[in-house]
Symmetry: C2
Subunit: 661 residues, 2 copies
Amino acid sequence: MVTRKELADAVRVLSMDAVQQANSGHPGMPMGMADIAVALWKHHLKHNPANPKWADRDRFVLSNGHGSMLLYSLLHLTGYDLSIDDLKQFRQLHSKTPGHPEYGYAPGIETTTGPLGQGITNAVGMALAEKVLGKSFNRPGHDIVDHRTWVFLGDGCLMEGISHEACSLAGTWGLSKLTAFWDDNGISIDGDVEGWFTDDTPKRFEAYGWHVIRNVDGHDVDAVLKAIDAARAETGKPTLICCKTVIGMGAPNKQGGHNVHGAPLGATEIAAAREFLGWPHAPFEIPADIYAGWSARDSGNAAEADWTARFNAYRAAYPALADEFERRIGGKLPADWAAFAADVVAQIAAKGETLATRKASQNAIEAFAPKLPELLGGSADLASSNLTLWSGSKDANSAEGGNYVYYGVREFGMAAIMNGLYLHGGFKPYGATFLMFSEYARNALRMAALMKISPIFVFTHDSIGLGEDGPTHQPVEQVATLRLIPNMDTWRPCDTVESAVSWQAAIERNDGPSTLIFSRQNLPFIPRDAGQVAAIRRGGYVLRDADNARAVLIATGSEIELALKAQTALAGQGIPVRVVSMPSTSVFDRQGKDWIASVLPKALPRVAIEAGHPDGWRKYVGLDGAVVGLDHFGESAPAKVLFETFGFTVDNVVATVKSVL
Amino acid sequence: MVTRKELADAVRVLSMDAVQQANSGHPGMPMGMADIAVALWKHHLKHNPANPKWADRDRFVLSNGHGSMLLYSLLHLTGYDLSIDDLKQFRQLHSKTPGHPEYGYAPGIETTTGPLGQGITNAVGMALAEKVLGKSFNRPGHDIVDHRTWVFLGDGCLMEGISHEACSLAGTWGLSKLTAFWDDNGISIDGDVEGWFTDDTPKRFEAYGWHVIRNVDGHDVDAVLKAIDAARAETGKPTLICCKTVIGMGAPNKQGGHNVHGAPLGATEIAAAREFLGWPHAPFEIPADIYAGWSARDSGNAAEADWTARFNAYRAAYPALADEFERRIGGKLPADWAAFAADVVAQIAAKGETLATRKASQNAIEAFAPKLPELLGGSADLASSNLTLWSGSKDANSAEGGNYVYYGVREFGMAAIMNGLYLHGGFKPYGATFLMFSEYARNALRMAALMKISPIFVFTHDSIGLGEDGPTHQPVEQVATLRLIPNMDTWRPCDTVESAVSWQAAIERNDGPSTLIFSRQNLPFIPRDAGQVAAIRRGGYVLRDADNARAVLIATGSEIELALKAQTALAGQGIPVRVVSMPSTSVFDRQGKDWIASVLPKALPRVAIEAGHPDGWRKYVGLDGAVVGLDHFGESAPAKVLFETFGFTVDNVVATVKSVL
């Protein structure tokens, strides 16, 4: 019979050996949290290594993601498709075991972690998803959605501001199936944390409305198990289990100090650790009885089989709901979606309304959302400005559940929670703030792009058109910087039709996130033929052509109106120009040479117009073209005054075009 | 004798009338916090309206900056150079009274606020500055630095994650001269906060080690005064005064609801408010006795005169210290700085070391810092990775004071605290994290640029050269996006000499911030002649020319080595090319046409090489040139493997150059 200590030591030794082999990595956390992992993974975690995508599995998030070898060791030992050779490839190119856990690289990785604080925030999203999905689908006697979310986190996560945003919300929402284990080892990279981290963390979490279990010995598996029992017994609040640990436990000369955090132990200390732990086995050799002690294959198969039987009973009782559940969890759109969406766009085109695109966005949500219960909306305390509520919106945290999240003034938390909602499955989250405050959330947008997941980030008040609130709130460089995030599709539509199509594209996208950028102010409706409406999905297309055009005007969003007026003015001066609308540069760039050349003929000089930073447009206009843009901060004044003051006038565009002919 | 109510009502009425006149703005907060303002501004704030830059004034920060009319009213009424006509120009172009308080627009504005949570964080920096400066300059019997920092903040600031980072540090640092007034009105934009903000805020702040005064009636001036007395009596902790208020107090039909937050009251409600308050005066008419009741001109002059007398006594006792204090507060470099700095750079050039530029950065700090006690360093828990410590570093929060701040894992908090340290005066802060996590801090970098203040942001591990930690930690688009912030100078030096010069430029800059981007890995020293060393300050210059060059290679940082090797290889194939080093694109862009044309001759095709997002380089290479860059995420692997895998090879550069000839 293997002991708990042997189970934990297997994790310790695999971790220190893999870091040593890679000559890079973080042994301290895996060695320090190994006993907690035994308590959770051996005795509580509901999972099936043979099916990492089982819908009702518990979710486990390693928020202190630098300790990735802990998770890789656990996945390997419990029976996931992650071999010992995979562990030997730790931190090597195209391995399943990169330096931080990367979603999509190894089975059982629920989210990419490493950027501190975001893992716990993703987990809050996952726990919210479980709660809301359960309210939608569970029926008396049929709890088909009933799983827990477990998080490991360290001091770094707790220092990060986003932990405040996420954990405050988790408390407000009463996410009682969320349990976090705090690795309270008193050490961060700069040394003993007492010089920079003196929070009374238990008290802080009690202030958020959490159930807090203090002073648990993180190396006493029984103590941790007792705490987990208490967490499970709590039905109104999330639980924080405060585990006192020794970082690098098992490395006799280095444990408890910051040098064990982020560097290989070295051959001498590794030998000493083997002796200290009484571990006689060679690197990457795990005795069969320890594998057997860790394996979750049988228990996992049994757990999933039990759920499948219950789901079959649910299907017998509620066949339509069961189908819908599978559609939602599978991330599939309704079967008649394409025709439905085309009809929505056609109706909006037929109406021909002049609206602020944020209002056009709301109308698009109003049209699409009744068809898509997976749309889970929200705003960071700007619902009435972002216009993200629709007539069917209901607070997701109400007693009966719903489809709208009031995130409060927490942009970064919102975005990382949206990532967690999406990763859980069953939801297509959208959430909004002012475009300027995309900056507060920026790294969570990047994480969505890196994970190839597809939440929808809605940003309104997209330029100096915001007006009087002034330069702190007026985007200048924000659209340009969003366009630089790899795998992010950024849309800046110019009217109701482009707004609806950008929503449709974002809804249909399933390999990366979208940002939808909308105006505060009214923008005129632009008539288009059916071919042009279809061409919006290509990211850039000819909106108004001219015979024998001598130049191309490229514009987006609110500057389309200006481009069209300048086209008319130039025509009056005998200078025909083409107007191209380019709502999404990344989508346009993917269209292939022929489409690109047909929209932007090589021979014609180009002028881009956008009330934002000009530099990104050089990619399209080159050195011989020109950009009517804004390379400085805005000012506080009515929008109309600002556009005129900063050169967004027909006269200036006309003069600029003439300068490049 | 005017009553306190009349004083408060003057603020209320000016605020509601100015918002009405602008037809835009936020009346709710000024009307709700007017009584608190009477307590603080009438009875406690140490300031001199005739000299808003008096070194020992108290600092007042309106963290809920949307309530700007509160501050403008107070500045006007107490006697600053801000006229009633300025108030009438609220939110109009080029007025002193923009929508949010903008640093540099009106006297008495200590920092630009609006982006929530950053004001309180700036204030933490100001309070830290006061504490550290006092330890440097005060002498027994000569407390020439002895002032307080006062902050107004609302629910929004408290929900933002950055408030956690800042207030945790303020508690750890024991900033007892910092007092924050929480406008606890229970309302945010989406409505009653109980659906999304249920923190026990007093308990939360106690967990941070703050002195918390609960349940103060924010409309009872005596109660607020009593709380302020208690705050002043506390000498070990910052104080949070929790003020229950009614948002929009005085607007009889709208007060207490969210509709009063961010829109004009309207003529009807304004008339009702005048009646309700018993305020018979026309808009923008303030009776003389109320002006007299508010005026701080006499008391302010007296307070400053008292300090000046004490400073003169200090000067008599410590003449050199007094001179140094004035130099520091004036933001002036030492008189012999230019020669000193030139010597430092020359010595570094003479050494010719091959080092990681993060190590070159540390050497530059080591060389410059002994001359500059105003350099106040720090890192977000990555001192040993960022290499921001030097031999003279001492914890600023030690008993005797110092010059280094251990910020913990708090990137956004660090950056906004640095802004506060700079705004206070007396310090040139630098602070560091990994380049990736510049994203967590991004809006604080922008705020520094907007305010035209000059802290130094140090970002290391600047590309896939970071290696095994993988894509969550490998910058791709980050340098490109930093370059897009208006008024930000971003430097990515290629060796020890460029690193030292970029530090020198950042130290000397006084009209905007700098970001210094350094490599993890070693980069070879590049020999230069004196003219080339001088040319580094021009942002871009010819590093290795070639006779009859047929193309220009532009590179930065770690890719300079590759450019030089490609130049050699191309020369071997009979293709002479010029190599341009461009450590700072924004500095280069400011050099004027002649310099730019001399470095990048119009006729030559160009290839840019940078291990980062290519799009920004189109500005220099146009449509006919090429970029060897990276438009996708990185991977976890050793750095050398990644550079080769992703095309940063001589062969690829050579082929790319040939493709554009």
